[in-house]
């Protein structure tokens, strides 16, 4: 099997995902083409050699609909030979696109593939594309509940208090603010308009001054779902749950933002042909399906599976990047795999910076790689939880 290398990983900054957010005026396709042009320019890339562009998107409808990857390629300056595909694996899509690219390269079917994701949550909010689980019969057979309530279930079952999850959120904010201020986010490519005027060049969602006292004032975001029946459904599946303590708020859950991420994956030969320097190799990838009602417990088993495939253990990993969908997801992951604060999400995460659904996986891969390079460390794991109980993980190693 050939090896798959990461030649570059870039992302847009994350704009607040609502009207008034800096990227609200930007069409999703322009988030993508900004990165396509930057990837081409930064690497002096001969795009005729890039065979495919796989882009994930959580709400692939309307202006994000159909196949935004190919649409963006046609619309950009890239060569017509590059083809494109849209991918949906809920929140895991951005990383799954990279993993699929790596799989194609490792299999020898393709040599150079771009992959990532895009999400304009300000323009197409969560639920914009509907979904099969919205059907009553499907929902009943699936024990479907609000995802956030799954996070509250984890907190309840593991005994994480409101203060525990809020404390984690404060840490995420402080770390992200510091990383932003010190310029650690090397992978950011500013979003510019068609005149070349910069629209946004930094993550605007971060609130470095977040305090425990401030967070404590926020109301639980999923209490209503709990009270309107979803809590009862959860208990039918988890009889040991007496009551669900709703501890997650907008302050300790991932933020709603706009953004895109792009990763260039290729074989050793393809890199050499274009004089590209590999930044890391992808050692292994894994997907797992876990219990779908609680939904958010996939990262630990996905990580274990990926590590096993790579012949590694948790101790061999220098840094972990777990998407901060909700604080309890990270706390359970740390507890399950025994990972100290110092090794995980060291520059903050989605609680501070936001989680543009389809894009996040590709974005945080870049964040991890930047930090491994800055600290001159070797291996890292990127992992996310996703809808339906999906867990995904990728192990990378700097070259």
């Amino acid at each position: 099997m050939a090896e798959a290398f990461i030649y570059d990983a870039i992302r847009t900054p994350r704009g607040k995902g609502k009207r008034g957010g800096s990227l609200y005026e930007v069409k999703p396709i322009d988030l993508v083409t900004n990165l396509l042009e930057a990837l081409k320019d930064r690497n002096d890339l001969d795009t005729t050699k890039v065979e495919d562009l796989i882009l994930a998107c959580g709400e692939p409808v309307k202006e994000q609909g159909q196949n935004i990857a190919k649409a963006a390629l046609v619309y950009s300056s890239w060569d017509d030979v590059t083809t494109g595909a849209q991918l949906h694996r809920f929140c895991a899509g951005g990383l799954d696109a990279v993993n699929m690219a790596a799989a194609k390269v490792a299999a020898g079917y393709e040599d150079l593939v771009a992959a990532g994701g895009v999400e304009s949550m300000s323009r197409l909010g969560i639920g914009a594309s509907g979904g099969a689980t919205g059907d009553p019969w499907v929902a009943m057979k699936s024990y479907f509940i609000s995802q956030g309530l799954g996070a509250d279930m984890i907190a309840t079952m593991d005994g994480f208090s409101r203060e525990d999850v809020d404390r984690y959120a404060v840490m995420s904010q402080q770390r992200a603010a510091q990383a932003r201020d010190k310029g650690y986010f090397k992978s950011i490519v500013p979003v510019r308009d068609f005149n070349g005027v910069t629209i946004l060049d930094h993550d605007e969602f971060i609130r470095g001054d977040t305090s425990l006292e401030g967070l404590a004032k926020l109301k639980p975001a999923f209490q209503m779902f709990n009270d309107f029946g979803h809590g009862g459904v959860a208990k039918l599946k988890y009889p040991e749950l007496e009551n669900i303590h709703c501890v997650h708020t907008p302050g300790n859950s991932s933020g709603i933002v706009d953004g895109a991420g792009l990763v260039l994956v290729g074989s050793e030969r393809a890199g050499k042909e274009q004089n590209l320097t590999p930044r890391a190799r992808i050692l292994s990838c894994a997907l797992v399906g876990t219990e779908p009602t609680i939904m958010l417990t996939g990262p630990a088993p996905a990580t274990e599976k990926a590590l096993k495939k790579a012949g590694l253990s948790v101790d061999d990993i220098d840094l972990f990047e777990l998407n901060e969908a909700f604080a309890s997801v990270v706390l359970r992951y740390q507890r399950t795999l025994n990972i100290p604060d110092e090794k995980i999400n060291v520059n903050g995460g989605a609680i501070a910076m936001g989680h543009p659904i389809g894009a996040t996986g590709a974005m945080i891969l870049g964040t991890l790689l930047d930090e491994l390079e800055r600290r001159n460390l070797k291996r890292g794991v990127v992992t996310l939880c996703a809808g339906g109980g999906i867990g995904i993980a990728t192990v990378i190693e700097r070259v």
Partner: protein, 720 residues
């Protein structure tokens, strides 16, 4: 005589008259199918030939329109047919629908006259008519969900198209029966009539005036009220609705799931496609064990019970005019409330006027609540209250037809009031003891007229609980039993009849699951799992919460009373898990029940109740005992089913339906099982025995299989 007659009048209106031969009411079964198909073929021909100005659908039965589907025919169907047979069944369902679609698209106006109840299939026929006239006061609706089914002859589709998703789901999944006036308000009926002649006249007048009538859904541009599931206004319904159904039914009632889904699915597509979808959901319920259980218990057995299957053959129906009640506590006052509601004179006697007045005030509070909710008027309340006489004087009972004693569960006190009362009341009056456990024949020893002595076990609160367990003592006469039975029905209660033995039927059976809860708690099983298991079984209340409601203190005292009673009788008394745990709860931890501030649960102010944290230290200090969740669930139900079989073996219960209905309506046995006996049938007799033996091996003799069940398992004879 044919099921359907077609008679054309001088105005060219063809009357389609349902008159099923040999039946008092029309039902929708095979005979209907054939007759209806033939009738529509003929009607189509007549319309083509010309001279038909309209169709008037009516019943040939006096005061009976149409009763609905033939439940017995459905119960006879194979539950696990082959794929080919299922296809045939589906085709059969579609074939039943077809004539109704033909009827509403004949091209001439179609009116229907409802001269009596139009429920289920009967109302589905009515919905396929353009214009619906009903005599004031008749009941209409689609109550199929109450017996685990759903409408399958277009009722879901037409109701959805007519009223919109939200209203259709509410009416159908709750099986709501509407009075004609209510149905008119909702648009399910078009006109009310005074009597049959008036109804015919109105229906025909409408036909003559509306030659171009069409169903709403066959009119250009018609849209379902409030639109389909993708409308923003319906998002709440489709997002939270399924969860609400699941929570309400604990996901144990397939009909409610199917109805909700079917309504939504139907609203997404055109009318004819929707009919196919409805047929598929309906078929799934025809092949559903839960539906079978509920049809068996709530239709077949309930009907037999109401008709007096357990009533002795005493021809004269008794009507109680004046009811005496001894003891004006919650039970006595509750019975008085109900009796007054039903128009009986009530004498409510207690040892002091003050106590008796307190009981009367209980009734008044009940009526005031109804008044506040608009359920009754001031006049009705005053009339009811005027019927209740509170007294401390035995002589006021002198002309009572029946006296029910609801005094403390103490043989001595009961014996005393029996003697005192019998000295006053007429010699043919019935004396009924409302005890939940004391053997009636033993109590009857205090009576000078043991043939008139009987047990009538009401459930608390008596003004709400629908069941009365009638206990026949050794000397109780047929006449007395018939009177008690008739009184229960007069009070609007469902009577079951059992023979005498300690605990009778219901108390014996429910004590098994309460005890099983205590045994598991003592074993160190997580109490949250015990309670969840009861919930997930479909029990309205868990074994621990049940004691909290009664209060640990009361349960403890009852236990002490039973112990004293047993020892007085010269028999041995053995402590059990329940008594040991109650002892500790009351005497060691001071957790005496909900009314005393908390029992197994804590009741934080403004918060949700939760299991008292001290339970773990008390009963599982080393950590919870881990047993399979399915075992916890099965222990709570199997112990009850097995005890029920024992009561049958001992001759306490003789009619299966009494056991099934009694267990569901009296002691909250999961309704979707069809009751304690039907639950065994549904599980499979042999499979039940195997599972019970597994439980016996793991958890002891409570799960020992009685020989009656072994015999049944061997012979394959179901409990029916």
């Amino acid at each position: 005589m044919a099921y359907i007659r077609l008679e054309k009048d001088s105005d060219g209106i063809v009357e389609l008259i349902f008159d099923q031969p040999g039946k008092a009411v029309n039902t929708m079964g095979r005979e209907y199918d054939e007759a209806m198909r033939a009738a529509l073929t003929e009607l189509q021909t007549m319309v083509v030939q010309g001279g038909v100005s309209g169709v008037y659908v009516r019943s040939g039965k006096p005061q009976q329109f149409f009763a609905g589907g033939d439940i017995n025919e459905m119960l006879d169907m194979d539950l696990n047919p082959s794929a080919e047979e299922k296809t045939k069944m589906y085709e059969g369902v579609m074939a039943t629908k077809a004539p109704l679609r033909q009827l509403e698209t004949l091209g001439v106006p179609v009116a229907v006259g409802l001269n009596g109840p139009a429920l289920g299939g009967g109302f589905e026929i009515a919905l396929a008519c353009h214009y619906r006239v009903a005599i004031k006061g008749v009941q209409v609706g689609l109550p199929e969900a109450m017996i685990g089914l759903m409408p399958g002859a277009g009722g879901v589709v037409r109701m959805t198209y007519l009223l919109g998703m939200q209203e259709a789901i509410g009416l159908i999944s709750q099986g709501r029966r509407l009075k004609a006036a209510q149905a008119l308000e909702k648009g399910l009926l078009h006109e009310l009539a005074e009597d049959e002649a008036d109804m015919h006249a109105r229906a025909k007048a409408w036909i003559k005036a509306n030659g171009d009538a069409k169903q709403p859904w066959d009119q250009e541009g018609y849209a379902i009220p409030a639109g389909g599931p993708d409308e923003a206004a319906n998002q709440g319904l489709t997002f939270f609705g399924p969860a609400n159904v699941m929570v309400q039914t604990k996901n144990l009632m397939p009909a409610q799931n199917a109805i909700f889904a079917c309504v939504v699915d139907c609203a997404r597509v055109d009318f004819d496609t929707a009919q196919k979808i409805e047929g598929r959901y309906f078929l799934s319920l025809l092949l559903d064990q839960t539906a079978r259980n509920m049809m068996t218990a709530f239709f077949v057995q309930m009907e037999a019970l109401n008709k007096g299957a357990s009533r002795p053959n005493v021809s004269e129906r008794f009507k109680c005019k004046k009811l005496g009640i001894l003891g004006a506590g919650q039970m006595g006052a509750g019975i008085a409330t109900v009796a007054a509601q039903k128009g009986m004179q009530v004498v409510l006697k207690d040892i002091s006027q003050e106590n008796a007045d307190r009981g009367r005030a209980y009734a008044e509070a009940f009526f005031n609540k109804g008044l506040a909710k608009g359920k009754l008027t001031e006049e009705v309340k005053n009339a009811c209250m005027a019927l209740i006489q509170a007294t401390a004087d035995y002589s006021d009972l002198a002309d009572c037809d029946i006296v029910i004693e609801a005094v403390f569960e103490d043989r001595g006190i009961k014996a005393a009031v029996t003697a005192e009362c019998e000295a006053i009341i007429p010699s043919d009056s019935v004396f009924a003891s409302n005890t939940s456990a004391l053997p009636i024949s033993e109590l009857a020893q205090a009576s000078v007229r043991a043939q008139n002595f009987i047990g009538m076990h009401f459930f608390s609160p008596a003004e709400k609980m629908p069941l009365v367990e009638i206990i026949r003592g050794q000397q109780t006469s047929d006449e007395t039993l018939a009177k008690a039975f008739d009184l229960a029905q007069q009070l609007g209660k469902t009577p079951i009849v059992v023979n005498d033995a300690a605990g009778f039927f219901t108390t014996r059976v429910i004590s098994k699951t309460i005890t099983q809860g205590a045994i598991m708690l003592e074993e160190g099983v997580n109490p949250v799992l015990i309670e969840s298991a009861a919930r997930d079984n479909g029990s309205p209340v868990g074994p621990l919460a049940a004691i909290d409601e009664i209060s640990q203190e009361t349960a403890y005292k009852n236990g002490q009373q039973a112990k004293a009673d047993t020892l007085t009788q010269g028999r041995d008394w053995q402590d059990n898990a329940a008594s040991r745990i109650l002892d500790r709860m009351v005497n060691e931890f001071g957790r005496r029940g909900k009314v005393h501030g908390g029992g197994y649960y804590e009741y934080p102010e403004g918060g949700k109740k939760h299991i008292w944290s001290g339970l773990k230290d008390a009963f599982a200090p080393q950590g919870y005992t881990d047993i399979p969740y399915q075992d916890i669930k099965d222990r709570l139900t199997f112990c009850q089913c097995l005890e029920a079989v024992r009561t049958m073996e001992e001759g306490v219960v003789n009619v299966v339906g009494d056991g099934n209905i009694g267990s569901i309506m009296g002691i909250g046995f999961p309704a979707q099982t069809g009751g304690v006996f039907q639950a065994i049938n549904a599980y499979g007799l042999s499979a039940f025995v195997t599972r019970a033996r597994e439980l016996e091996a793991r958890y002891g003799s409570d799960f020992e299989v009685p020989s009656l069940l072994l015999e049944r398992a061997e012979s394959g004879e179901l409990f029916r």
